[in-house]
Symmetry: none
Subunit: 258 residues, 2 copies
Amino acid sequence: MSGTDFKNKPLIAEGPAVILCEPQLGQNIGMVARAMANFGLAELRLVAPRDGWPNEHATKAASGALHVVENASVHATLEEAVADLSFVMATTARPRDIVKPVRGPEEAAGDLRRRFLAGEKTGILYGRERWGLNNDEIILADEIVTFPVNPAFASLNIAQAVLLMSYEWMKTADSNPAFDAFGSGERVIADRKHLVGLMEHVEQALDDAGYFFPAERRDRMAQTVRNIFVHMKLQEQEIQTLRGVVAALEGRRRKQQN
Amino acid sequence: MSGTDFKNKPLIAEGPAVILCEPQLGQNIGMVARAMANFGLAELRLVAPRDGWPNEHATKAASGALHVVENASVHATLEEAVADLSFVMATTARPRDIVKPVRGPEEAAGDLRRRFLAGEKTGILYGRERWGLNNDEIILADEIVTFPVNPAFASLNIAQAVLLMSYEWMKTADSNPAFDAFGSGERVIADRKHLVGLMEHVEQALDDAGYFFPAERRDRMAQTVRNIFVHMKLQEQEIQTLRGVVAALEGRRRKQQN
């Protein structure tokens, strides 16, 4: 999906830190930054990135999420990266023999939002591209987040996992600013008198056109047509348009022009 | 996040079709296939892919989601790609001057699941990487889906958009009691090809009647009329009836002119 970024809109940049444990490819780090920015997260922490930091591949793949990439912090160990956090969730797809509460992304995001509103500093931990997190690392987390994936095709890449959690985070916000731009989108259905006007117009035109044949079926045929128009749940402007359509089809416009 | 695929697990492969309108990069198509497979979707439809099909970059980027890539269908036009569907959602990030219901992904996925359980064939439409969908394409959809993105950083790539919708689709699989509302009394919406047939019939008739005036407003006027018909959620029998109505009105006008 393409979409222009909206200029002069408030930049949302708050919420849990995203912690990548020994990320390997700069491109993946950049895609993580972009996914975070899409859904209002901004604090990226890197534990011992393989190719060092800064990384031009990351900058390029971030597609403009520079406020995330340029402010990323680098840490030698996971312990250091989570030192100031009071609550950490670890994402993993694999069943493990570690006893921790396991949450879905939606439930996890709701919990992170509650903690955020209470002033807690929290983080979401993601493992290496190749083999995720080891048990020692998961032990450092309070809870496990896992995704409801297709059992036969369960592998999510790191940017996808960050995208899903960031998206669920954004969904827990009170209002979704993206929807304001559309207006309500609600259809205002026309008063019934306009609908009746349209139906009478159509019936008159069909009478003139000899549509109702044989005569004894007229009522039934007219009911069928009326019922279609009632189902349409038309707005007033749409009714005006359709009356114009009917008028054109029955030749009034042409007659008027002569 | 890394995770091994689980062998001997049931492969989930059902649900709405994913329709990509004129996708440009094979790599993106492959990443879309992977995202679909992660969350149990399997039916991929490509409208006029820029670099042809099959595409080795797509196969590579699919990371093993070959059951999606190898069964993808290719269509010359969007109309053809949606011909057998009764309900289509279009994803877009941009506010538009088209009156359509706008849904969030969660609400949209719930609706798609209800339709799936009722036996309807549905689809989710995604635009080109660069500039999304044009108005004529959006008009063909019943509803718009948009994502609750950060207003200042709103651009999602196509694979991300597919991932989010597929994920929400999968999330709806658990719940079910809410879905019992769909019973046998449900309206069975006609396949899209019948609707397109009606719209083309009406437009031809309006062209003949000189409705589209002035000429430079033709596209906008035709879109307005099409959008009304899409809103109607017509059943096949209703479409036949309306075609009879249009034919009758046309016939009368022709007779007058003679």
